[in-house]
């Protein structure tokens, strides 16, 4: 059976499709570039492409489902991601075990993909009274040339093993299944890499496993999860578990997914937002034995072992820190590492950090249910990024081509900033010495317009403070804008969404009731300021006191979380961050210009110096806002900072090695403050520069 091109129903359900573009400039295979597509699903003559993952089509067979069965099936983002994960398992030939609730689309996904891929679909339901005849096969008496003979008829599993196809083992961990005793020895042999399997029911016939035979299994969690009971499911032993790539899925569809599916089925056009970073593209399929020649692979091989060991320690035993809410015991054996290596070999396209992040996301992050656990694994991955040493020729600085490259890079950076801002910061194009900034400050002439603007700002800030503090404001005198600020700086900051605010240096007490204080400062701040028996507090005891003086602060909205891809609007610091990453001063990240940095990284002298140059200030003036300042300016002028679910670093130190952060709308928005190790980077955590001026 041969399906015609463009016959797929998915082309109709793909509502948001980008143009075919090259999404990975680092590819080493130009031939592949032409085929890169950002369609969520694409069917070609010989392959089907699921979010970038190309799966070769099969050879057909009696058990290939009809595509028409899926015509009315509306695909949500989660459905596309699930298909991508199954597709990855198929191309890696690594069996995939999906654990999740009933009705979230596992069976449909496998059957649908078999129809697309023109390959046999063989479902074996361990939880039902499926018979051995139907699954393995049976012998029947028949008359051949007048003689009674026993003829063997393949069941569906055996048919798929002989002819190729996907065997979908449903309710894999169901205890007491009538067919498990017949099916499991066959599956075990295949999982152990045997090329032939023995069929006792047919006089131990040795059946050769077709190279296109693949295994996908699904199960409900053993025992009770989220109050939902799944009786009769057992915890798989580590030996069985370790043969699979294990993906933990939700127990039920999210409300959003349910609604989208219902509305989509009813014909409503629902936009599905799948970002570039959620696509996966196959690479050159480098032999695993040659990976070590690629810079960074050895680094990652070591780091991945460290990560796996850390996860094994944290995810096992009675007092485990991770996977606490998962009954199925996680195990980490050498097969897992082989799977990761195979992924890297298959998907490597020139970016070593990218391919290892994706591989570890597929094999490790997906093992965990809670977002917190997932984030811990991702953080460990990010901390392990490979930073290549500067190339020898660049160090010499004599190579003509390198000089050209450097010049080109610089020009690229300038062009991007020009495009984004319409102006070029002097720190890139001109003299990059601090003294130049100082000189600009000292020599810039004042103008009547600037004098007027300063007065207006002083006046408007006085009004804003009155509104916020009410009667208390009577004791607050807003001083003039500091003389050190030049007209050029003033204009530059205005154009780049930085604004001066006056902070009156008063203490925000726990019981203060100010008219403008809609969102109170977190109670945590007051708790952490309390001294213990030894007279020590967790944070500085002046943490509830606002700084005194004029503060320049980045006024951009805090972005909404988008799987770590969120960026600050029209961000002047994006090219700067990208440059810092290129130089290895801050760790790499999927979005090169992202404000995803640790507090330690922000406070590195070289980093602060670079930011300071970009913002036309002195490095010693630059800091992060204190929690109390973020709360105050947020209440006074920017309530929207508290309405998004990302976090920002604060300047406040919390005991040794930690810093405060907050702002997450899910935890209290402007009111919220928490702490984290200052070296950590979370994909929901950014920063907002603030600048202090002498009083």
């Amino acid at each position: 059976m041969k399906y015609m091109k463009n016959e797929s129903q998915f082309n109709m359900t793909t509502l948001v499709e980008a143009e075919d573009v090259q999404v990975n400039k680092k590819t080493e295979n130009p031939e592949r570039k032409e085929g890169l597509s950002k369609k969520y699903f694409e069917e070609r003559e010989d392959v089907c492409v699921y979010l970038g993952v190309e799966v070769p089509k099969g050879e057909g067979g009696d058990l290939v489902p009809n595509k028409s069965a899926f015509e009315n099936y509306y695909l949500t983002k989660e459905d596309y991601i699930l298909r991508r994960e199954i597709a990855t398992s198929l191309v890696l030939n690594k069996p995939l075990l999906l654990e999740g609730g009933t009705g979230i689309g596992k069976t449909s996904a496998v059957a649908n993909m078999c129809a697309d891929l023109n390959t046999n679909y063989c479902k074996v339901a361990f939880g039902r009274n499926t018979t051995v005849e139907d699954v393995i096969g049976n012998k029947d008496v028949d008359i051949v040339d007048g003689k009674e003979v026993f003829l063997w008829h393949d069941g569906k599993l055996l048919k798929a093993i002989r002819e190729g196809g996907i065997a979908f083992l449903d309710e894999y961990n169901f205890q007491g299944s009538k067919i498990a005793g017949h099916v499991n020895p066959i599956i075990d042999a295949i999982l152990n890499g045997y090329k032939t399997v023995s069929i006792p029911e047919n006089n131990h016939e040795q059946v050769t496993v077709h190279p296109n035979f693949r295994l996908v299994a699904a199960q409900n969690p053993p025992g009770t999860e989220e109050g939902q009971e799944f009786p009769g499911r057992e915890v798989l032993g580590s030996e069985t578990f370790g043969r699979w790539a294990y993906h933990k899925m939700p127990l039920k569809m999210s409300k959003e997914m349910r609604l989208n599916r219902r509305k989509g089925t009813m014909g409503k056009k629902i936009g599905i937002n799948i970002t570039d970073s959620e696509f996966r593209f196959l690479g050159n399929d480098i032999p695993t034995s040659e990976l070590i020649d690629i810079p960074g692979m050895e680094h990652w091989a070591e780091k991945s072992v460290e990560i796996i060991e850390m996860l094994e320690e944290k995810s096992s035993g009675a007092g485990k820190d991770m996977a606490k809410d998962q009954r199925q015991k996680l195990s980490f054996n050498p097969r897992l590492e082989q799977g990761i290596d195979r992924y890297v070999a298959k998907f490597y396209r020139g970016d070593v950090n990218q391919v290892w992040s994706d591989a570890l996301e597929y094999f490790l992050v997906n093992m965990y249910k809670s977002d917190i656990d997932k984030e811990k694994v991702r953080e460990a991955i990010r901390q392990s990024y490979y930073i290549p040493p500067k190339t020898e020729s660049k160090r010499k600085g004599l190579d003509e081509n390198d000089e050209e490259d450097e010049e080109k890079e610089k020009q690229d950076l300038i062009d991007r900033i020009k495009k984004a801002k319409g102006e070029i910061p002097s720190w890139i194009v001109g003299d990059t010495e601090d003294s130049s900034v100082k000189a600009e400050i000292e020599t810039a002439p004042s103008t009547p317009e600037f004098a007027k603007a300063k007065l207006e700002l002083q006046k408007s800030e006085t009004e804003a403070i009155k509104k916020y503090f009410g009667k208390t404001a009577e004791a607050i005198e807003v001083p003039p804008i500091p003389a050190e600020i030049t007209a050029e700086q003033f204009e530059f900051w205005k154009n780049n969404k930085f604004k001066l605010h006056y902070s009156p240096g008063i203490e925000i007490k726990k019981d203060n009731e100010f008219p403008g204080m809609k969102e109170r400062l977190s109670d945590n701040i007051y708790e952490w300021m309390k001294k213990d028996d030894k007279g020590k507090s967790k944070i500085n005891i002046d943490s509830a006191i606002l700084p005194k003086g004029w503060i320049l602060i980045d006024e951009r909205p805090k972005p909404q979380y988008d799987n770590g891809n969120q960026m600050y609007e029209d961000d002047i610091l994006a090219p700067v961050l990208e440059d810092l990453r290129k130089k290895g001063l801050i760790a790499g990240y999927k979005e090169k210009g992202s404000r995803n940095v640790s507090n330690d990284e922000f406070n590195k002298p070289e980093v602060k110096e670079t930011f300071a140059k970009a913002l036309k200030i002195k490095p010693e003036q630059l800091e992060l806002p204190k929690a109390v300042l973020f709360n105050y300016i947020g209440n006074k002028s920017h309530p929207e900072w508290g309405n998004t679910n990302t976090w920002e670093w604060f300047q406040d130190e919390y005991t040794s090695g930690s810093r405060l952060n907050g702002g997450d709308s899910g935890n209290g928005g402007l009111s919220y403050a928490d702490y984290a190790s200052s070296g950590f980077r979370f994909d929901s955590l950014g920063f907002r520069p603030s600048v202090r001026f002498s009083v």
């Binding site: 058990l63 028409s68 069965a69 015509e71 009933t102 939880g127 139907d134 008829h153 569906k156």
Partner: protein, 139 residues
């Protein structure tokens, strides 16, 4: 609403949804009489009767609406297999009658429907099959 109207309504709904409908006979004492009445109404509406899983597979292959009345104590295991795979549009079972090996039928579930008839007692004795069922009517 009388039996005829309820059945007519059920046929209309499952026909539009392309799903499996279920009729439950609540009173075991009246089971036989109700079965006859329901079967008569379905026949009248042009819904064919399938006696076993092979006939069910025939009707699926022909895309013809049918009903299946369970006569044993609980839903037949092979019927459960068919019901569970209905939405994937492919059912593959050994042909036990003709001994011809695996029989596979492919169909478009969106273009057809069928109705199961079970008593409450049979429903309770059967394995988990409700997750695969669409509209339900009880008498």
């Amino acid at each position: 609403m009388d039996i005829a109207s309820k059945i007519k309504k059920l046929i209309e709904v499952v026909g539009k949804l392309g799903e499996i409908g279920l009729i439950i006979i609540e009173d075991e004492k009246e089971k036989v009489g109700m079965q006859k009445q329901i079967a008569a109404e379905l026949n009248q509406a042009g819904v064919a009767s399938a006696k076993n899983y092979l006939e069910v597979m025939d009707f699926l292959e022909k895309s013809k609406a049918f009903y299946y009345l369970e006569e044993t104590d609980k839903l037949d295991d092979l019927m459960l297999e068919i019901i569970a795979e209905y939405k994937t549009g492919i059912v593959s079972l050994q042909d036990r009658k003709n001994s011809t090996g695996l029989r596979t039928v492919k169909f478009n579930p969106n273009d057809n429907y069928f109705i199961l008839i079970l008593s409450r007692k049979q429903v309770e004795a059967s394995g988990q099959f409700f997750e695969f069922i669409g509209p339900i009517e009880s008498f």
